[in-house]
């Protein structure tokens, strides 16, 4: 199967469980499992190529100019990780089906899980490092959703936030590191980067790139000092923990270190940074894990510790270290996923994960006991289990590693860490399963249904098989290791086997196991010491740092943004004026090229009216109704101005928009207070006045200078004027620009308009659904209402006039291509005609006669416009290419048919729908409880018996 499909399948499949929530839990889990299974099988079809040592590569150009291409590569390393991700993913899905309770939204869970799975597969298959970064960030985001899946738990939300903050910051650092790396090599393709070891390591930017990339890896893989987020992420449902912390999320950092191993490793910087971080993490995680009472916390810290182990192995920079690391990745994934699932089973059945409240479970849960014990023994490093083999190799590698010129440092620490690792593994078995049966479990524990124990059992079978017959896994591990080495180092001759003879590693292993048993025997006194010892709490430090950053951010933003709109509007205005002044004062002004036109008396009269209305608005704005009338005058004068300066289309649009805006504001004023009280001081008004006058003068000066000079370059409108008729088939250039030259713009604009109307509708719905509803219904009008709500004259007039207005609208629409008019204007005119019916005959009357919902009209408009655009694809032209022809159907005159007219129809419908939906939403607020809805449009109807007055 194509690599594209393998990566895309989880993402596409993520849509299904969310949509199928209604179909039931079985269906949700089933479809998720099927999607993963197809991806898994698809991956397996590539197995022969990988086995033959080949590399599968596919790619398409995405942003080639930026070096960002959608290229995927599958080699043995990627194949290994993808198998882990998809394979363990399948087990997790099966397990989660039984684990999640009825209250959990299963569709949501599986959607997140598939998103996460897709992102992980994307990371391991990416060839382009920029693409890899995209997937990398996607894992941070989707794991955030998964960790915080139980939204009602504060720990879940905090844990998710912490994980996102830490891994997100690391991701940012890594972006920088990868960009540097790409700059050094001159390519963002991994396949190229991996061949340029010498170039990269010789570059002066090698160290910054290394540090930044390692920051990303260490945060993701929970390496010291970023290990603290992982235990807090344990608030997630157990299937998530099992998935994220055994096979996927935390292994992403490891994967990247392995992937970059050929070019980044082998230098002293790499060795010191990676090895020491790994060592510290391994020891620290193991020690803390021993003293954790929460089963999942114990496993979390043990994961931290094992990740440290793998990191340390990669840090040594030797081929044998890489071999051991790859082997341990496999082993750790198997036993740790099994252990997490067992912990989930115990939590599920015993209703507690607190080790102190458990014990003696071997009698009650024999199957779980067997699974968990085998997995834990493997973790402890007991022979004939796979954990022993890789731990042995780790100890062997440790004896060969000298850090800070101290030969015993690494072996001693590795043994120490293994000792604690054995101890907590034994504690897990001893304190949970062994011991006497108790009678105070929170619930009655028993073995779970097979759906829950089969997945971990399968993994434990692998644990044993690899442990007993390591030669089965050896070829695969070596193949993957060869991919890690990438030809930079010789593959070591080191057969993976159980008995190596009496080598130092064996003694260290024995020390660890015996020491682990001793530690467990001394657990009680040790715990007292541990509890008494002061130690830093990572969460407190993290909270302290985040609180500090928030405070600092507030310190910077609050003086500017204190929630007072007036304050930042003032600041913004002053800054804009100041910047403009600076540009004007420092720039040079071209000479005047246009002649000042003489002012005609009619223009002066219009100007006077506009200025008078505007000033009147400022001085009388406290009377809100009056200010509405004044702003109407302003709008009218602006329309007249458009007519005067040769813009008939604009004038028609402006005047119709003016009508609907005023109706809208009147509707709003119905609810708002009628007067604006005097609140600001004289001083404040002076200040605002000064700012306003400065802004006005600045704009005026700019407009004036602008108007007296010609454009620097030839305006592109020359092209529009020349081609409007020839290419667009219309003589009204403005309309041709709208529906043809810049049709894409217009298409976007009608979508925006539709969205605005839907926002208004949604806000109205939420208002009417909330506490405001009661207040609205019981609202007492603050002014006496008119006696006749639906004046007969107006009702009759609007109905008579309706067909005429529709005809005018139709006419304006049709002639739009050649004369002033078009979809926008026609839509507004028709809207006004419909609004008139609402106003005259009432909301109910009009609604009862509404045949199509306004949402539908908006939608059909956008759809028609879009389909018109798509239509040009069928004749192999780009989106929205228009065409036109002249046809003649006798006995009519010859007329023009243009696809642009169809597009304009879409515009028309969208405008009608949007305007009507907005106004209708507003008027829905106006209905009141004590005014009964009436079926009758007219209060006075001679054909009807007189009814008692309806109004108060």
């Amino acid at each position: 199967m194509s690599l594209f499909l393998i990566v895309a399948l989880p993402f596409l499949g993520a849509l299904l469980p969310g949509l199928m929530n209604q179909a039931g839990r079985q269906a949700c889990a089933g479809i998720t499992f099927t999607v993963s299974l197809i991806a898994f099988i698809g991956l397996m079809t590539n197995l022969p190529t990988i086995m033959a040592g080949g590399v599968v590569q596919v790619g398409v150009d995405w942003l080639p100019a930026m070096g960002m291409n959608f290229t995927l590569m599958l080699d043995a390393l990627g194949f290994f990780f993808a198998t882990l991700i998809l394979g363990i993913g399948l087990l997790i899905i099966a397990y989660a089906r039984s684990y999640l309770s009825r209250d959990d939204n299963m569709g949501e869970f599986f959607t997140y899980l598939l998103l996460f799975q897709g992102a992980m597969v994307g990371i391991v298959l990416s060839d382009n490092i920029l693409l890899l970064l995209v997937f990398w960030e996607l894992t941070s985001l989707s794991s955030f959703l998964l960790i915080g899946y139980w939204k009602h738990l504060p720990e879940g939300r905090q844990g998710a936030r912490m994980a996102l903050a830490v891994t997100g910051m690391g991701g940012l650092a890594m972006i920088a590191g990868m960009l540097i790396l790409g700059q050094i090599v001159g390519s963002y393709d991994l396949s190229v980067i991996l061949k340029n070891r010498d170039l990269i390591q010789a570059s002066p930017y090698y160290v910054p790139a290394l540090v930044l990339i390692l920051l990303g890896c260490f945060t993701k893989s929970a390496q010291f000092p970023f290990h603290f987020w992982l235990p807090h992420a344990m608030a997630a449902p157990t299937p998530v923990s099992a998935y994220l912390h055994s096979a996927t999320m935390v292994k992403a950092g490891i994967f990247l270190m392995a992937r970059m191993w050929p070019v980044l490793s082998g230098t002293p910087e790499w060795f010191v940074l990676v090895t020491s971080a790994g060592l510290i993490t391994m020891v620290l995680g193991a020690v803390i894990a021993l003293f954790k009472h929460d089963l999942k916390a114990l496993l979390a810290f043990s994961t931290v510790s094992h990740l440290g182990l793998i990191t340390m192995l990669l840090g040594t920079g030797t081929a044998f270290g890489a071999l051991a690391a790859v082997f341990h990745i496999l082993n750790h994934a198997t036993f740790k996923a099994a252990l997490f699932m067992s912990a989930g089973i115990i939590d599920h059945e015993a209703h507690t994960r607190d080790i102190r409240r458990l014990g003696g479970l071997r009698h009650l849960m024999p199957v779980t006991f067997a699974i968990a014990t085998l997995a834990a023994l493997s973790m402890a490093g007991i022979p004939f289990l796979n954990g022993f083999l890789s731990k042995e190799m780790m100890l062997e590698e440790a004896t060969q590693t000298t850090l800070f010129d101290t030969w015993w440092l690494v072996p001693a620490l590795a043994t120490f860490g293994s000792l604690f690792s054995a101890a907590y593994s034994f504690r897990l078995i001893g304190h949970v399963f062994l011991g006497p049966k108790r009678d105070d479990y929170p619930a009655h524990p028993h073995d779970p249904p097979s759906g829950m124990w089969l997945p971990p059992a399968f993994l434990v079978v692998l644990v044993v098989v690899i442990g007993v017959a390591p030669f089965l896994a050896e070829p695969a591990v070596k193949l993957v290791t060869a991919a890690v080495l990438g030809g930079e180092a010789e593959m070591p001759y080191a057969p993976i086997k159980i008995w190596h003879g009496l080598v130092p590693a064996l003694y260290m292993s024995m020390v660890a196991v015996i020491g682990g048993l001793v530690l467990l025997a001394l657990f009680k006194p040790l715990l007292r010491v541990w509890d008494a010892a002061p130690r830093p709490e990572a969460k407190v430090i993290f909270d302290y740092i985040t609180d500090g950053s928030v405070r600092l951010a507030k310190l910077l933003t609050h003086p500017l943004h204190n929630g007072a709109f007036t304050r930042y509007a003032t600041i913004a205005t002053v800054v804009i004026i100041a910047v403009g002044y600076h540009a004007w004062a420092t720039g040079t002004m071209r000479a005047q090229t246009r002649v000042l036109q003489e002012a005609q008396p009619i223009a002066i009269a219009g100007w006077l009216m506009l200025v008078a209305a505007t000033l009147g608005l400022v001085f009388m704005h406290r009377n809100r109704l009056l200010s509405l009338i004044l702003i109407g005058i302003v709008g009218l004068m602006v329309s007249v101005g458009f007519v005067f300066f040769s813009a008939p289309d604009l004038a028609m649009t402006q005047i119709t928009v003016e009508v609907v805006t005023i109706i809208l504001l009147l509707l709003a004023l119905n609810f708002l207070p009628n007067r604006t009280p005097i609140e600001s001081t004289i001083l404040r008004r002076m200040r605002d006045g000064t700012v306003a006058v400065a802004g006005g003068l600045a704009t005026m000066a700019m407009a004036y200078h602008f108007l007296l000079r010609d454009a620097v370059a030839t305006p592109i409108s020359e092209y529009h004027l020349a081609n409007s008729y020839k290419g667009g088939g219309g003589t009204n250039v403005v309309n041709v620009i709208l529906v043809d030259f810049r049709g894409f713009d217009t298409f976007g604009e009608i979508i925006v308009l539709g969205i605005a109307a839907l926002v208004i509708y949604a806000l109205t719905e939420s208002l009417l659904g909330g506490p405001v509803r009661a207040r609205l219904l019981n609202r007492k009008p603050d002014q006496p209402r008119a006696g006749d709500r639906h004046p007969m004259m107006m009702v009759v007039l609007t109905r008579v006039i309706m067909p005429v207005v529709l005809m005018v609208g139709f006419f304006i629409f049709l002639r739009g291509h050649n004369e002033p008019g078009g979809g926008f204007i026609a839509g507004l005119i028709v809207s006004i005609a419909v609004v008139m019916q609402y106003m005259a005959s009432g909301f109910n009357w009009a609604t009862a006669r509404l045949r199509y919902p306004y949402h539908g009209i908006i939608g059909s408009g956008v759809l028609i416009a879009g389909l018109t655009g798509i239509g040009s694809w069928f004749v192999s032209k780009p989106f929205l290419t228009s065409d036109f022809a002249y046809v003649r159907i006798p006995p009519f005159q010859e007329f023009e048919l243009a696809t642009a007219a169809l597009f304009d129809l879409g515009v028309f419908l969208a405008v009608v729908g949007a305007v009507m939906l907005s106004l209708e939403s507003f008027s829905r607020l106006a209905r009141r409880a004590h005014v009964p809805d009436t079926e009758h449009a007219m209060d006075v109807d001679p054909s009807r018996e007189p009814t008692p007055a309806e109004d108060v």
Partner: protein, 112 residues
């Protein structure tokens, strides 16, 4: 003529800014509407002022005004209606929900 248009833009801007800085929602909406006029007229005037030469192609006529700013302003006018409607709705919702039509909402230190 140029001075008339420029000064009209200036007056509209001035009044718009002043009203925008008021404390209640309704005058602020009025102010933003005035600013919309100012901006639209300004954009329109970037095609320079031409009297009696509409951008409708007629045989034999050589001078036309610049059609492009007109097309851009036309959609701007319609969009500004949508935006005004949304702002009005938000203002109305805030007033109905909180019985207060102030635009300022100074943050308190302990706000979550």
């Amino acid at each position: 003529m140029e001075f008339l248009v420029a000064s009209a833009i200036g007056v509209l801007t001035s009044a718009g800014i002043y009203l925008m800085l008021r404390l209640r929602t309704f005058p602020v909406i009025m102010g933003i509407s005035l600013l919309t006029y100012a901006v639209n007229v300004f954009l329109f005037s970037s095609g320079r002022l031409v009297v009696g030469a509409p951008p409708i192609l007629v045989k034999g006529v050589e001078t036309y005004t610049d059609p492009l700013p007109q097309a851009l302003v036309l959609t701007a006018i319609v969009i500004s209606f949508g935006m005004t409607a949304v702002v009005v709705m938000i203002a109305l919702g805030a007033y109905l929900g909180g019985d207060d039509d102030h635009v300022d909402d100074p943050v308190t230190e302990d706000a979550p």
